[in-house]
Amino acid sequence: MRLEFDGYSVHSACAIGTLPRMTETIRPRHSFLVRVTHWLTVLSFLALLVTGVEITISHPRFYWGETGNVNMRPLFTIPIPSSRSSVPTGYGYVLPDQNGWSRYLHFQSAWIVAGTGLLYVAFGFFGGHFRRNLLPARSDLSPTRLGISIAQHLRFERPSAEEARSYNVLQRLTYLVVIFLCFPLIIWTGLAMSPAFESLVPATVLGGHQSARTIHFFVTGFLVVFLLIHVLMIVLAGFRNRMRAMISGRVTEP
């Protein structure tokens, strides 16, 4: 079987010759840098999420403003038991304290994700990745075209073959929001909770120390929803092929 690969013909060593399939085209999809930074972000995000949940358990109450503690009325409380006996949760027991390693791992992962993010953004601007792959075409931003795209997503339509090669307009807009709004905001609100960093950049702009913590929590929630929809869309579009594109960088087209 002959495979087309970026204009070159190669002979396939795969044992798919028995299948009655037409010539397949293998195209390059994601650049090496996009793939490496993607998976580093996945690993760090999962570590940040698990440790973040663990840290939250030690005080599952959220406030607005500068101060907040168990003597004050919270903005809202997550109805879970706590890992501290000083927090009144209504549950009759206290979970084990895992904050030590959780904090270490949280900050170590934060360094990795911040470094990876900087590398990715630099590449995105200077390597043309943002302009080529993420900036939506002006024509795609018309209400009619956006409406069509939203309707296609809501009907869970399997994307066309064309979309294996590039992102659709909703995808582009979502990625831009995640990259340029969510990540900077979650890093800033995270740093705003550091008493040493606060001596450089006060949390006042964010509404105060506790507000920063509450915003940090909501951005995390938004990113978790993004992650779930992102994975759902990959399953819908063809899990194997999309995973292959993000791992090997190549995508198969029928």
Partner: protein, 254 residues
Amino acid sequence: MNKLSRRQIITTGLAATAAVSGLAVAGKLATRYGLIPPDSGGIYGAGETLTYAAQRVLTRHALAREFSQSQISKDPFANPVDPLGEEFQRYQSRGFVDWRLVVDGMITRPASFSVSELKSFPARTQITMIGCEEGWTYIAEWTGVPLSHILELVGTLPQARYVVYRSIQTEGWDSIDMAEALHPQTLVSYGMNGAELPVPFGGPLRMRVPRQLGYKNVKYITRLTMTDNLKPFGKGLGSGELGAEDGYAWYAGI
């Protein structure tokens, strides 16, 4: 797979050598300028070292936020402590008149101060936030002697790099570097919100390090030791069972 050309092998080899020597030089410089924390070993050591070094470079002289009178918390929360023993209660029953703060180690004039002696030194009053690693905060007005004043009084030797402070609760000892110890807002505090420092908040004497988290703000301090090496103290991690020996980071500026 492409075959590696001779040029690629030489370039890679040179780059790797440069990277390794770069790291070695960076390590030497970091040690020289005190950018390596005592808990720099282990799997989280890299992240912790980056955090500490970055904070030392960026925030060495930055001041913790100070708030207005109206922002003082009406309901500050006193984190529960282990039961205070008989010895403490004896001091308490006598109004802490014979409570002493012993200063020793790398100094020229070993000393021991009573609370009233400390009160006769130049005082500093500041309205700052205290934040627990669990996430809660309160704002209070703290009065005390700047630690730098005590360090000067006892003739601290220039080779001293850390101040180890111990509490009547033996498990609650901790240490800070000289940058933090000489910082104008680091206080040996004896007053809170215009009154004597209440016992639940650490009275008669509490180390107040507003640019670090609550657990570095050890209550009931009895002894300061200047040293150039934290290895001989406890397990050599720089703080006791309420800090590094319980798996928490030694540097708590974040």
